[in-house]
């Protein structure tokens, strides 16, 4: 694909995909962080 060897294609597409998945999982796990967006409690 793209005129590249298979291993190169897998690496240059695979690693960014992993970072995207990491980000999506992080966004999901941190969805409750908005609870901190209030003034400090006494």
């Amino acid at each position: 694909m793209f005129g590249l060897p298979t291993f190169t294609t897998v690496v240059i597409l695979g690693v960014p995909t992993l970072w995207i998945i990491y980000t999506v999982v992080f966004m999901w796990l941190s969805r409750g962080w908005k609870r901190e967006d209030v003034e400090e409690t006494p």
Binding site: F2, G3, L4, P5, F7, T8, V11, I12, V15, P16, L18, W19, I20, Y22, T23, F26, M27, S30, G32, W33, K34, R35, E36, D37, V38, E39, E40, T41, P42
Partner: protein, 515 residues
């Protein structure tokens, strides 16, 4: 006057203008000057973190790597892509919260508050200052070279102009000026890079045709193993390449200070997503353009000029001015962050901590400004009369920074048993191993990058040092309480904020007595 020079003048005036605006907007106390009053939102946090992490290396070194090694350079890019999201997801929220609870306003002071001992600052401040000054020096030289190339003025004059603009807005507005100029510069970097990448792909007939043309010149360039397959099986080098720009950033004091300046801890969440988008748009470009330069300009005398030369060949004249501004933006956004942080360490972490403890906030701001000026003058003197090699300084200083500080910052918020002995052992081991591994020539003999050995040494030292000294140096109770609060998702109780908790408020004195 050429269009490139006109663009640069507009760009320099705009950056100085932002500095003046930030000076009027900012607070004049030390938290206002050093952390922008902890008022930074997700967009500025993300782009400030990314642009200060990516120096002139991205336009010069990355282009050169693509030109000389083909797709092998992508190992660095692939690690780099996740550097921002990793930093913000691992450290962001917790470091913002803990730094506020402990009342820390510099990233080195934060380490001393978390691991209470004056020795933490006595070791961390000189190591950070030393590495950051040389990293800064490399940015000064790169800025001077870039300006010299475009304007044709002599190197010392170009250097003086580049340093002068950086110092002006850092001097005027402190962190706020640096954060907002970095934000604008990150946008200029993306626009410039995407523009030159698209124009390059059009000029070579598209991505697939470009790869086929590269394959016809040297098929090895299309592999992940280098132009002569020299890196095939060299996993020590490849893992180092992936690590240096991914987890390495978590140890750079001028980068992690972004977490402390966030408006709220939850800013890290949105900023993480923004940083990934920025990285996906920006990072692959320099490596790909550098590689495709082989098709357009096969006989370049200096591969470090590949991106500029390609821009000159494929873009209209006015767009070349934007690309040149983008190159200067990459250099200046790193240089200003380094300059401010180095000034902070010298004034706040060394002078105010050990020499004059009774300084007022206003005096501290002025000491920081004067330090910035002194560092700039020393930097100019060294760079103008005996400029060292840029790439070597950048790689060496960033490797030592990452090796020395990554476990200290990560364990500070994630491991309750991490104590002062562990942190000191980690910083010393990381610094010594990365320096000795490099100067002894071990990377060439073993094929293992100093980043790998440095991080391993500092991590092992942190674990062994902390576990072995739990009885003699337990983590203080007030730190354990602060860490418990940091781990919770919820607002910080007012009684936990520095100044309102007697135990936390007196921690500096306690640290002094501990010694």
């Amino acid at each position: 006057m050429s269009i490139e020079i006109l663009f640069l003048i507009i760009y320099f005036i705009a950056m100085a203008g932002i500095g003046v605006w930030a000076m009027k907007k900012g607070q004049n106390d030390s938290e206002g000057f050093l952390l922008g009053g902890r008022s930074i939102g997700p967009g500025v946090t993300a782009l400030r973190l990314q642009s200060s992490s990516m120096s002139g290396y991205m336009f010069m070194g990355a282009g050169s790597m693509g030109y000389t090694q083909g797709y092998f350079g992508m190992w660095y890019a692939l690690g780099d892509l996740g550097g921002g999201i990793l930093n913000l997801s691992v450290l962001g929220r917790r470091m913002r919260k803990l730094s506020q609870i402990l009342g820390s306003i510099t990233s080195i002071e934060y380490l001393e508050h978390r691991y209470p001992s004056k020795w933490i600052r006595l070791i961390a401040a000189p190591v950070a200052l030393f590495c950051m000054f040389f990293y800064l020096l490399a940015q000064f030289i790169a800025g001077g070279r870039g300006l010299e190339m475009v304007t044709g003025v002599s190197f010392p004059v170009a250097l003086a102009i580049a340093i002068g603009v950086i110092v002006l807005y850092t001097f005027l507005g402190g962190y706020l000026a640096v954060a907002y100029t970095d934000f604008v510069q990150a946008i200029i970097m993306v626009v410039g890079m995407v523009w030159v990448l698209i124009a390059t792909l059009i000029a070579i007939g598209g991505f697939t045709k470009g790869n086929e043309a590269i394959g016809a010149i040297n098929p090895n360039m299309l592999t992940m193993w280098g132009a002569d397959l020299g890196y095939q099986g060299q996993w020590g080098v490849i893992i180092g390449a992936l690590l240096v720009f991914s987890i390495g950033y978590m140890g750079w004091p001028h980068v992690v200070v972004s977490h402390m300046a966030m408006k709220k801890p939850s800013v890290a969440r949105t900023a993480g997503a923004y940083s990934l988008i920025f990285n996906l748009l920006f990072i692959p470009g320099p490596y790909l353009v550098g590689m495709f330069a082989l098709i357009l300009l096969p006989n370049l005398a200096n591969p470090e000029t590949a991106i500029f030369e390609v821009a000159d060949a494929v873009l209209p004249t006015f767009a070349v001015g934007i690309v040149m501004a983008a190159i200067m933006a990459a250099i200046m956004s790193t240089a200003d962050a380094l300059l401010l942080q180095a000034g902070t360490i010298a004034s706040q972490d060394i002078y105010a901590r050990f020499i004059n403890k009774k300084m007022s906030d206003r005096q501290m701001v002025w000491v920081s400004r004067i330090t910035v000026l002194v560092l700039a003058v020393i930097g100019f003197a060294i760079a103008a009369f005996e400029p060292p090699a840029v790439a070597a300084i950048v790689i060496f200083s960033t490797t030592v920074l990452g090796s020395a500080f990554v476990p200290a910052y990560v364990c500070a918020v994630w491991w309750k048993k991490a104590n002062t002995v562990g942190a000191i052992s980690s910083m010393v081991a990381g610094t010594l191993v990365s320096v000795l591994w490099t100067v002894s020539g071990a990377p060439y003999a073993t094929g293992i990058d100093p980043m790998v050995t440095g991080i391993l040494a500092s991590t092992v030292a942190m674990i062994i040092g902390s576990l072995a000294s739990q009885k003699t140096h337990p983590v203080p109770e007030h730190i354990v309480r602060a860490l418990d609060e940091t781990a919770k998702i919820g607002p910080i109780p007012a009684k936990m904020i520095m100044g309102q908790d007697a135990m936390l408020a007196s921690q500096a004195e306690m640290a002094g007595r501990d010694e």
